[in-house]
C-alpha cells in the first residue's frame, strides 16, 4: 500500500523554511541554466528562421558566407534565365542579386558595431518572402534611401523611421522598417545595390544572389547545374542549409552551457540531499509509526522520493516563470544581445524563453529531485520500526 501524495505534500509544507531554502537553491540553478540555454536558443532560432525553403543562395565557390563573396555581372545575367526558377506575374525571374557590405554603425549607447548592409534590387522582397515592410515603404532605386530591420531601428543612432542614417560616409534616409519574423534580416539594413557598390567602391556590383525556385522544380538539380557551370566558379546551396550551417557553430556553445549546467545541477543536488536528510532525521519517530502501522519500505521510499521530486518540480515552475520574466526585463533594458557572426557583423538576438528552451532545465530539475532525494529516501526506508520509535 503506497502512501498518498498528500502526505508528501503536507510534510513539505510543515517544514516551510527548509523547503523554501531548497526550492530557492534549485530555482536559482534552473534560472541560470534557462537564461544561458535560451540565449543560445534565441541565437539559433534567429539564424535558422532566416532561411526560406524555396530559395537557393548562390555565391562564389569557396566563400563561406555572403559577406565574403563576389560575383560578376554576366554570371548573374546568364543564370537568372535558367530553367526551374520562379517568375513574377510579369514573367521576370525571381532572382535577387545582392551585395553585402559591413560598415560601422554606432549604437545609441555609443558602441561601434559592424552591421550587415545588403544592397538589393527590385525582386528582393519577392524572393525573401518572409521579409515584409512593417512600417513606411520600400526604397526607390537611386534615391539614397534605406529600409532597416526592426532591431536596427531601435539599436543604432539615426536608424529610426524618417531619420537620416549615416554610414559609409554618406547619408541615407530611412523610409521603411523591415519585419522578418525575428530572423537575422531584422539585424540588417537594405539599400539600393548600385548605390552601395559605388559607396563601398566595389569592383563587382554583386556579391551573390538568391534564387526563388519555381514550385515543383527540382531544387537540387538547379543547384548542381549552377555549381557545375564551367564559366564561373559558383556554388548554390539551399538557403535552409546555408543558415543551418551558420547556426551550427552555436552547437559547441550548447555543449559548454550543458556542462556548466550539470555542474550547477550537481551542486544543487547536494543541497537538496542535505535538506532531505534533515527531513528524514526529524521524522524518525513518524517513520517508525508508519512502518509499525504496516506501510512497507517501498512505500516510505516512494513517499520521500515524491517529496524530493515535488520540491524540484515546484522549483522548476518558479524558476521557469522568473526566467521568462527576467528575459523580458533584460531585453527591455539592454535591447537585443549582440553576437558576432561569420560575416563579422552583429547579429542581434532578442533573448526570449521559448517552451523548447525549458526542456533541458526541466530534465535537470527532475534529475536533481530524483538523485538528490534517492539516498535520504533509502535511509528512511531502511529504518527499522522499533529503533525508530525508540529514538523518539
Amino acid at each position: 500500500m503506497a502512501l498518498p501524495l498528500s502526505y508528501s505534500w503536507r510534510s513539505l509544507l510543515a517544514r516551510g523554511s527548509r523547503t523554501a531554502f531548497t526550492v530557492a537553491v534549485i530555482a536559482l540553478v534552473v534560472i541560470a541554466t534557462t537564461l544561458f540555454w535560451s540565449l543560445i536558443g534565441s541565437l539559433k532560432r534567429t539564424l535558422v528562421s532566416s532561411g526560406s525553403p524555396h530559395n537557393l543562395i548562390v555565391m562564389r565557390k569557396g566563400a563561406t558566407n555572403d559577406g565574403s563573396s563576389q560575383l560578376s555581372l554576366d554570371a548573374y545575367q546568364t543564370i537568372r534565365f535558367f530553367e526551374g526558377i520562379a517568375k513574377d506575374p510579369a514573367g521576370n525571374p525571381l532572382v535577387s542579386p545582392e551585395i553585402v557590405v559591413q560598415p560601422f554603425f554606432h549604437t545609441t549607447s555609443g558602441t561601434r558595431e559592424n552591421v550587415l548592409v545588403r544592397g538589393i534590387e527590385a525582386p528582393a522582397l519577392l524572393v525573401h518572402d518572409e521579409v515584409t515592410i512593417g512600417e513606411g515603404r520600400m526604397i526607390h532605386p537611386s534615391s539614397g534611401e534605406a529600409v532597416v530591420g526592426r532591431i536596427v531601428a531601435q539599436r543604432y543612432k539615426g536608424a529610426s523611421l524618417g531619420s537620416d542614417l549615416r554610414f559609409g560616409n554618406a547619408n541615407w534616409k530611412v523610409v521603411g522598417i523591415l519585419d522578418a519574423n525575428g530572423s537575422s534580416f531584422e539585424s540588417e539594413v537594405w539599400v539600393d545595390a548600385r548605390e552601395l557598390a559605388s559607396n563601398a567602391k566595389r569592383p563587382f556590383p554583386y556579391s551573390g544572389f538568391r534564387v526563388r525556385v519555381a514550385d515543383g522544380a527540382d531544387m537540387d538539380a538547379l543547384a548542381r547545374r549552377i555549381g557545375d557551370d564551367p564559366r564561373w566558379a559558383l556554388e548554390a546551396t539551399r538557403e535552409i542549409d546555408y543558415y543551418k550551417q551558420l547556426s551550427s557553430t552555436a552547437n559547441t556553445l550548447y555543449i559548454i552551457v550543458a556542462g556548466l549546467a550539470v555542474l550547477a545541477g550537481i551542486g544543487a543536488m547536494f543541497g537538496a540531499t542535505n535538506s532531505m536528510y534533515a527531513a528524514v532525521q526529524a521524522r524518525t519517530s513518524e517513520i517508525g509509526t508508519l512502518r509499525a502501522l504496516g506501510f512497507s519500505r517501498g512505500a516510505i521510499l516512494g513517499a520521500f522520493l515524491a517529496e524530493s521530486v515535488m520540491t524540484a518540480a515546484f522549483a522548476f515552475v518558479i524558476g521557469a516563470a522568473i526566467s521568462w520574466l527576467l528575459a523580458i526585463a533584460i531585453s527591455a533594458a539592454m535591447g537585443g544581445i549582440g553576437f558576432a557572426s561569420q560575416t563579422f557583423t552583429t547579429n542581434v538576438v532578442v533573448l526570449r524563453v521559448a517552451p523548447q528552451d525549458l526542456l533541458m532545465p526541466l530534465g535537470l530539475a527532475i534529475l536533481i529531485g530524483v538523485f538528490g532525494g534517492l539516498a535520504p529516501a533509502a535511509a528512511a526506508a531502511r529504518l527499522r520500526p522499533v529503533e525508530a520509535l525508540r529514538k523518539a
Partner: protein, 387 residues
C-alpha cells in the same frame, strides 16, 4: 584562537551534512570561477594593448571600406610616426568547411619590426620574415593549438580573395587573438596572376615615438585625408580592440547576471545548513550561556563555523575550477565566432583567490542571522521550552 577546536568539532557533529554542504558550495564556487574567467580573456587582450603607442588608421566608414595603398607613404611621412605598415584581411581557412579558425593578414614587412617592437621578436625571426616571400609569423597560441613548429609549411585558402597560398612558418608572435602575418607582396603577386588588381589596404598600423604625441599625431593623420576620397579615422590600438569587441559587452553582462545568481544560490545553501545545525543545538547553546559564555562569544563561534566550512569549500572549489578550466581551454577555444575571446577561459590566480574570499564572506553572511538569533535567545526561555 582557543575556540577553534570547538568550532572545528562542531562541523564534525554531522559529517554528512558538512560534506554535502561543502560539496555544494565548492561546485558553485567552481562555476563562479569559470564564469568570471570568460570576460577575463577579453580584459587581457585589452590590457595588453593598453600601454603601447600603436595606432590604427582605417576608413571612417568601416574596415571593409578600404583605403588607397598610397595612403601608407603619406602616413609614414607624418612627423612623430616612427614606422607604419599596411594590413589586409586575408580570411584564409585551413578547411573551408570549418571556416576561418584564426585571423590572418597580409602586411608590409618593412616597418613591421618597428611597429611591433614591443613584441620582442628575435632579430633572426624578423630577418627571415623579410627574407622569405612566403614567410609567416604565427601566434603562439595558434602554433600550440595546431601543433605547428617553425619550419612547417601550411596552406590557407582565402575566403575573400580567389587565391590559395602556402606559407612557411618562420617564428611565433605573442598576439592574443591568434593572428598569422605574411607579406603583402606575396598576395599581390598571386592576385596579379589571377588577374585581380590589388592597390588598397584595409588598415594602416603605425607607431608613434612618444605617448604624449599620440593624440596630435592621430588628429593630423585624419586631417590629412579629410577631403580625400577615403576619409580616415585613426584610433589607438586599445580603442580599436575595445570597439571591435564592443558588442560582446552585453554577453558579458548576462554572464555576470548568471554568476550573481549562482552566488546567491551559495548563500541559500550555506544559510540552510547554518540554520539547521544551529536550530538543533538550541538547548546546548542555552547551557553554554548559562555557564557564562557571553552572547558575543557564542555569536562569533557560530559564525566562525559557517565561515570555516565555506572557506574550506571555497578552496576546494577553486582548485576544481583550475582543473576544469584547463580542460575547457583545450576543448572550447574556437567555440565559434559568437563568443570570440570570451572562450579563452583565461585562468588567473586573482580570480581563484577572489573566489575563496567570496566563499568565506558568503559563509559569514549566511550564518549571520541564525547565529545572531541563537546568541540572543533568552536562556531562561529556552530552558522553559526545551524542558
Amino acid at each position: 584562537m582557543k575556540y577553534l577546536p570547538l568550532v572545528w568539532r562542531n562541523l564534525g557533529r554531522n559529517p554528512l551534512r558538512s560534506v554535502l554542504t561543502a560539496a555544494a558550495i565548492a561546485l558553485a564556487i567552481a562555476l563562479v570561477c569559470i564564469l568570471r574567467t570568460m570576460p577575463a580573456g577579453l580584459d587581457a587582450i585589452l590590457a595588453s594593448a593598453a600601454a603601447n603607442t600603436r595606432i590604427s588608421t582605417h576608413n571612417e566608414a568601416g574596415i571593409v571600406y578600404s583605403m588607397p595603398y598610397s595612403y601608407l607613404a603619406k602616413v609614414r611621412a607624418v612627423p612623430g610616426v616612427v614606422a607604419a605598415i599596411s594590413w589586409n584581411w586575408f580570411g584564409g581557412a585551413l578547411d573551408l568547411t570549418k571556416g576561418v579558425e584564426f585571423p590572418n593578414f597580409a602586411v608590409d614587412p618593412d616597418g613591421f619590426a618597428e611597429v611591433y617592437a614591443d613584441w620582442g621578436l628575435e632579430p633572426k625571426v624578423l630577418e627571415d620574415f623579410r627574407k622569405y616571400r612566403d614567410a609567416a609569423l604565427v601566434a603562439r597560441q595558434t602554433l600550440e593549438k595546431h601543433r605547428w613548429k617553425v619550419g612547417d609549411v601550411i596552406t590557407l585558402q582565402s575566403t575573400v580573395f580567389p587565391v590559395t597560398l602556402s606559407f612557411r612558418i618562420v617564428g611565433a608572435n605573442p598576439n592574443q587573438g591568434g593572428a598569422l602575418y605574411f607579406q603583402r607582396e606575396y598576395l599581390e603577386q598571386a592576385l596579379a596572376g589571377a588577374g585581380v588588381q590589388f592597390d588598397t589596404t584595409g588598415m594602416i598600423w603605425s607607431r608613434v615615438d612618444d605617448p604624449e604625441r599620440v593624440a596630435p599625431v592621430m588628429r593630423q593623420i585624419d586631417e590629412m585625408f579629410r577631403n580625400s576620397e577615403a576619409i580616415t579615422s585613426t584610433e589607438t590600438e586599445k580603442s580599436f580592440i575595445g570597439n571591435f569587441f564592443g558588442g560582446l559587452k552585453q554577453l558579458v553582462t548576462i554572464i555576470q547576471i548568471v554568476a550573481a545568481l549562482v552566488t546567491l544560490c551559495i548563500v541559500f545553501i550555506a544559510a540552510n545548513t547554518a540554520s539547521m545545525s544551529i536550530r538543533e543545538r538550541v538547548g546546548e547553546i542555552a547551557i553554554l550561556k548559562a555557564i557564562g559564555f557571553r552572547r558575543q562569544t557564542i555569536f562569533s563561534t557560530l559564525l566562525a563555523e559557517a565561515g570555516l566550512l565555506a572557506l574550506v569549500a571555497g578552496i576546494i572549489g577553486a582548485v576544481a575550477a583550475f582543473g576544469m578550466l584547463k580542460a575547457l581551454q583545450l576543448y572550447a577555444t574556437g567555440a565559434g565566432p559568437q563568443l570570440g575571446p570570451l572562450t579563452a577561459f583565461a585562468v588567473s590566480n586573482a580570480i581563484l583567490v577572489q573566489a575563496i574570499f567570496i566563499a568565506f564572506f558568503i559563509g559569514i553572511l549566511s550564518g549571520w542571522v541564525p547565529a545572531l538569533g541563537a546568541s540572543r535567545r533568552s536562556v531562561a526561555q529556552t530552558l522553559r521550552e526545551v524542558f
